[in-house]
Amino acid sequence: MNANLMNTTKEHILRGLDANVRLDGRKKEDYRAVSIEYDVSKSAEGSARVRCGQTEVLAGVKMAIEEPYPDTPDKGNLMVNAELSPLSSPEFETGPPSDWGIEVARITDRGIRESHALMPSTLCIESGKAVWSVSVDVVPICDSGNLLDMAGLVSIAALSHAHYPGVKDGNADYGTRTDKKLKLESTPLPVTVWAIGKHFIIDPLPEEEKAADARLTITTTADGTIVALQKGGSMPLKSEQINDMVKLALRVAKDLRHKLH
């Protein structure tokens, strides 16, 4: 049952927003129930699953020992990848990553990198010779909207429960898992505020994402510092609107952060 055209019109969605009633009865600033599970993939060094309404996303952390880049001999590597598998939505296609997939990955990556949540210097094993390389792969299972925020949340959840593998002959020994956990200095969480006409909503449904004119992803850490921003969509935003969106994102991030443990 595909048919990307078979959607409620934007005008109708706006009519509901005027009355603060969204398609599923939520108010504009209501988030669906979010749950997090850890260690869902025994093959990964760390993993997590988040659920937000019917949206479900997995993330897995893999670690390997590699040579550092020549210009950063003391720093390990971090890579965030988002595979938007067509398993999760009729709108994704097979093949190389789509622009949307790349954007989801880069926004998630930027938040973790810029907040220094994971310090590359802590990943150094032997200067110039061996460093840990950490990969986070985000895989949605069901896309019922709000992949951006969930990708960020599940990545942090997976990283926060990741254990170093054992080491044998200078390589990772994946058969053994140590008690040493990856050290996270902070927990950056992205919250995307979506603008449909003059209304702001959070945690959108797929139809709301399609009807949106603009969006702003605001990634913040626990102390309220903004560590990444990304505006999408072509509608211009006034600075007052942006400030309001930031306030909203800070509030939401606080609630989401309580779910992490």
Binding site: V40, G60, L87, P90, S135, I141, Y174
Partner: protein
């Protein structure tokens, strides 16, 4: 005196399978979906279709096309991260899965259309294509397609001197993991898929070396195991459509 493989690494009996679980309807946005887990191998399948098929030259005016897309999540392998993307192994498994399912699904009512089955594995411990087929079969039934039977699959194996049911990664790599071996012994991985009700075989592959007699035994073991898996699949499908939240 050469000791054979008389005690399995995880303590199972010779023809015993690992614990299984299954759930149908795990991807609400899809037309049909299911999860199948055996031991530490978990497969999730989602069905989309019948839907429009592009490019046009693939369309078949006599009936719909069934396409499988098998993929291991990058963090699901036994060692290093697996680079995402359709590598040769994934492509081969996708084709083999299609062949095993095409025989039971009737898509004659959907000329020029396609039914896409996506399979993703979040964690693996051998038997991945088999788990994928088990999940895909349930997902196709969940999508309400005409099927003459369910399909189940299991990896039978020949390890050292006997046939066992449902190989683990360690058993597949017996020569690496067995203690006290003086020289390398024969190991064969034999994935078998059957129509659940009549035991007819729709997928058969083999990696390794095995004699004709042991192969015959493997086929019987595979058929029985598939019938057992069929019960798990049936139960999961029925659970989906009974009970409810009223």
């Amino acid at each position: 005196m050469i000791m054979g493989y008389d005690k399995r690494f995880d303590g199972r009996k010779q023809y015993e399978m690992r614990p299984m679980s299954a759930k149908v309807g795990v991807v609400p946005r899809a037309d049909g979906s299911a999860m199948f887990q055996i031991g530490k191998t978990t497969a999730i399948a989602a069905v989309y279709g019948p839907r429009d098929l592009h490019p046009k030259f693939l369309q078949n005016p006599r009936g719909g096309l069934l396409r499988c897309h098998y993929s291991m999540m990058p963090f699901s392998g036994h060692g290093e991260r697996v680079r995402p993307g359709q590598n040769r192994r994934a492509k081969e498994i996708s084709r083999v899965m299609e062949a095993s399912l095409r025989g039971v699904v009737d898509l004659n009512a959907f000329p020029n259309a396609v039914v896409d089955v996506f399979i993703e594995l979040p964690q693996t411990d051998a038997g991945t294509r088999c788990a994928g087929i088990c999940a895909a079969s349930m997902a196709l039934a969940d999508a309400g397609l005409d099927m003459k039977d369910m399909v189940a699959a299991v990896s039978a194996g020949f390890v050292h001197d006997r046939i066992v049911a449902d190989l683990t990664y360690e058993e597949e790599h017996y020569n690496e993991f067995a203690k006290g071996l003086k020289e390398e012994v024969h190991v064969a991985d034999i994935p078998i898929a059957c129509q659940v009700s009549n035991g007819e075989i729709v997928l058969l592959q083999m990696d390794g070396k095995v004699s004709a007699e042991f192969l015959a035994e493997a086929l019987e073991v595979g058929k029985k195991a598939c019938a057992e898996i069929g019960e798990v699949q049936r139960k999961a499908l029925k659970e989906r459509f009974t009970g409810g939240s009223l």
